[in-house]
Symmetry: C2
């Protein structure tokens, strides 16, 4: 299994956590999204992933893109330990939590979007940061609300980390990068602290990748 | 099953298609996102969905939000006819197609985002349209690329509509609203034409909802 990723990409970070939690090794190949004008724009990488995004996985002689799809594939092919709970309603609640982050926050803070804000609307660093803070805060408020009444569990939806944490930790990392005060989200912060103590999350952290700067 | 939705919301439209394909009735209750300053902001609706977005489903005495999670729940609880193919890699490819639309396009053209562009960057109607066209075109180009080599099948990934079409049709509807020329995407257009001929898609169309304008 080859994982073409980038140390700071939330999507790549999610896949690293999921694989670490399953104990599944992968051949991690960094694609630097900024250096050389963006290594994702090379003909070789574009042939693999026409969208020029990370991650791209090469598995079973085929190519998989889009982290939500890759994560469901990882869960299906390596079911142990499970990242989704057994009950259908419970699974839907975990997936909703993940979608808040994966759909309502992450796409808005993406590099290509920030570049557009700068180029077309003249947004400077402060305006870009305010933009990111708005969507991250809105989304994390929603995610915190989804955990209401679950304060007794160590992780978001139970006593083991799962898909919720796979999405949460990269988002917390980028919330801090963009200056969002996590103190406003006490339940998410407690879950993030519990995750940070685990080797699977530590090994997946951007700072601990071969392409870290 | 109660479906709180909005005729023009892509996410609500997706759920209507999925339920129609499964032949499952729901009690559709319109939430007008613009009228009265936004009916999603009422205390009653906010209690149901703190994120103030549609759709919200009331099922089994519980509340489900986020269409990607609701659609997986629908697929799990009403497996017949399936919206995802049986093979794991095939499922991952369909889910990747859905994620291109659900993550890389739809969140960027959302009402709250367009409102922010107007309020903070002074974006007028033309600038908002150009913004939407950029992300819709980029995403549809990626979706079209994912269907490369599949021109022999009537629908995106086979001879029956499934999750790919559940995401595609609302996106095509909104592409047209925002003035994107679908002629640039011949494969997607052919799939959309095949869907448009089916009663399940016709009945789910925004124009055919009780809250249509």
């Amino acid at each position: 299994m080859v994982h073409h990723g980038y140390f700071r990409s939330s999507s790549s970070y999610r896949c690293r956590i999921a694989l670490n939690l399953k104990g599944v090794p992968s051949d991690y190949r960094p694609v630097h999204l900024v250096r050389d004008g963006g290594q994702q724009k090379t003909p070789d990488y574009t042939a693999l992933n026409p969208q020029q995004l990370v991650p791209t996985f090469e598995v079973e002689g085929d190519v998989l893109t889009q982290s939500p799809a890759i994560l469901e594939w990882i869960e299906e092919i390596y079911p142990d330990p499970p990242l989704l709970p057994p009950g259908r309603l419970a699974r839907a609640k975990v997936r909703a939590f993940c979608a808040v982050i994966g759909c309502d926050i992450h796409p808005l803070q993406n590099l290509r979007v920030l570049e557009y804000l700068g180029a077309e609307f003249g947004a400077g660093q402060d305006a870009k940061q305010a933009w990111c803070q708005r969507w991250i805060s809105d989304g994390l408020r929603a995610a915190e609300a989804l955990l209401q009444g679950r304060a007794q569990s160590r992780f978001a939806f139970g006593d083991a980390p799962g898909m919720a944490e796979v999405y949460l930790m990269p988002q917390v990392f980028s919330a801090k990068r963009f200056g969002v005060d996590m103190a406003a989200f006490p339940r998410l912060s407690a879950v993030a602290d519990a995750c940070a103590a685990l080797p699977a999350f530590d090994a997946a952290h951007p700072d601990n990748q071969p392409d870290a700067e």
